[in-house]
Amino acid sequence: MSNIIEIKKLRKVYGDGVELVALDDVDLTIEEGEVLAIVGPSGSGKSTLLNMIGLLDTPSGGEIWLKGQNITKASPKERARLRNKELGFIFQYHHLLPEFTAVENVMMPLLIAGMDKKEARHRAITLLEEVGLGDRLNNRPNQLSGGQNQRVAVARALAGHPSIVIGDEPTGNLDSKSSDMIYELLRKLNREMNQTFILVTHDMDMAEKTDRILRLVDGRIVCEMRREGDEFVSRDICRAD
């Protein structure tokens, strides 16, 4: 398998005056088709790392390579294009556009990409059927439950066939039943389409279902565990903290 993401000595420092180091020389390689969980306490830099990978934020130092291309200093326009083409986002809060129906929300990344409206609609309907919302196509977010909205968000994240799907606490607002459903959905899509999933989560049950778990503390990866069969094996020394 080839490396889809390579991160070299990535740094992010916030604030002027009192500096806050959010990411401290992080090195990370993510393989294509991998399902990766990033865990760690609040403020450990999980979301910052995710925003860097998602090209939403720019690093203070180090390099990010996406599919063999150094995108560290890409222009805002190029980053927007890459986000649209290569990345799908699922956030803790669904962030659906409230005026638009489920199907219109799923169409959005496709319309941004310049796809024909009819074609986009067709693809959006297929995706919504796949996430089990075939009968909710024309409902707006306020007419859907939390779990349903999050499933629409999943469909939207997958609409443009992204190579990487990023989830920032994608099930953080859901009960355990909806949460399991979302995870199973993601896993199924991963198996079918070999998409790479990078999930930030507090939920250790979910993390333990992934292929690899990274533990971040104070902007450093302190522990990396890789699945081998049903067991997680720690590769590096996992510092007790």
């Binding site: 986000r83 990345l87 962030h95 941004i112 024909d116």
Partner: protein, 400 residues
Amino acid sequence: MRLTYDLGCLIHHEVIPLFELFVAKKHLVSRRRQTLLVVGAVALAVAITILFRSLINGFETTLNEIIFQFVPHVTVLPEGSESYIHLYKTLIETIWEIPGVMAVSPALSTTASFAHDDHVENVVLRGVVPYELNMISKIGIDYMVAGDLDSIQNGRRVALDQGLADELEVNLGDTVQVSFPDARTMSLVVSGIFDTGGFSTNYAYVSMETARDFLGEGNVVTDVQIKLEDIYQADEVASELEARGYNAESWQSQSGIVETIESRRFTNTLIMLLVIVIASFGIANIMNLLVLEKTREIGMMMAMGAAPKSVRKIFLIESGILGLAGGLGGCLIGYLIASYVNSLAIAISSGPSFSVILTFIVDPWDILAFPLITLLLSVVAGVYPAHQASKLDPVIALRG
């Protein structure tokens, strides 16, 4: 096939961006009340401006019609310090040689005191030939309320204005005493009363002979009035007469009313435009609120790959639509009100034989210009909020 695809791309992404239009339209429709409110404000400002301008147009047209019924197009006056034009027959022949001359009416005009019982009034007394006067101002044809104008040819008779008759309390057949220093006092019988609704106040007409007797003058006149086929030829005719050594004035140089109307129209249009500008900048306010309200969603659109340029376009399109809708709506409202009022044919009367119909004349250029003006203004108003939206950092925007 390839060509049509490319053409489709051009339409969707360059001229009318599909995604941006899709979002903009949805924002406007889902915020129906705010949209209607701001469109309504712009429409109202535009409608009022259009109505005002068409009222001025109507007023001007009516006024021109009136002016050209009573006011001569060119007037020849005595030279310099002279009181009279002596060789006026030659002058009249010269005038008739000019192409486009429709009527020529010489007059011997003076001020006189009219007295009846205890009433005394200062009057402009003009000695005229009724037939010639009628060619200039149709007083004897359209504006007589009693008697007739031709009767002044029969000796010591006078036709006078209704207002003047009221002041003097005279009726047809009454006798007025006419006097003036250095003039021969005489009695004149009222043989005609006319009413032009204020355009001939204090005017009285007598025959040329009566006027000459009164002044004790010979074959002279004080002015010669000319009517032309084309009123805008007046300046040309006046200068031609000037070149031949006469003192001639065109209606343009005499009547300040045209300038007054024009400057009125200009200053008022300026004020109205300011109102439109203010209404259009209501759009800026709405847009600012919208950007604040939609911050998270803008962040999400950016995460989905919407470029800053796209985000900017969304808000520019929205304000543009608001402005254009306001402009078009205003034109429609203005036009409908104007048509309705015109259909009522409201008469504004001033005197029994004289009334003006309240008329709005909507200038077609206004219908074209105002939607363009409001479109332009609203896009300008949208520039700042749209720029703010496009500058949002998606990470911060998503946090809300």
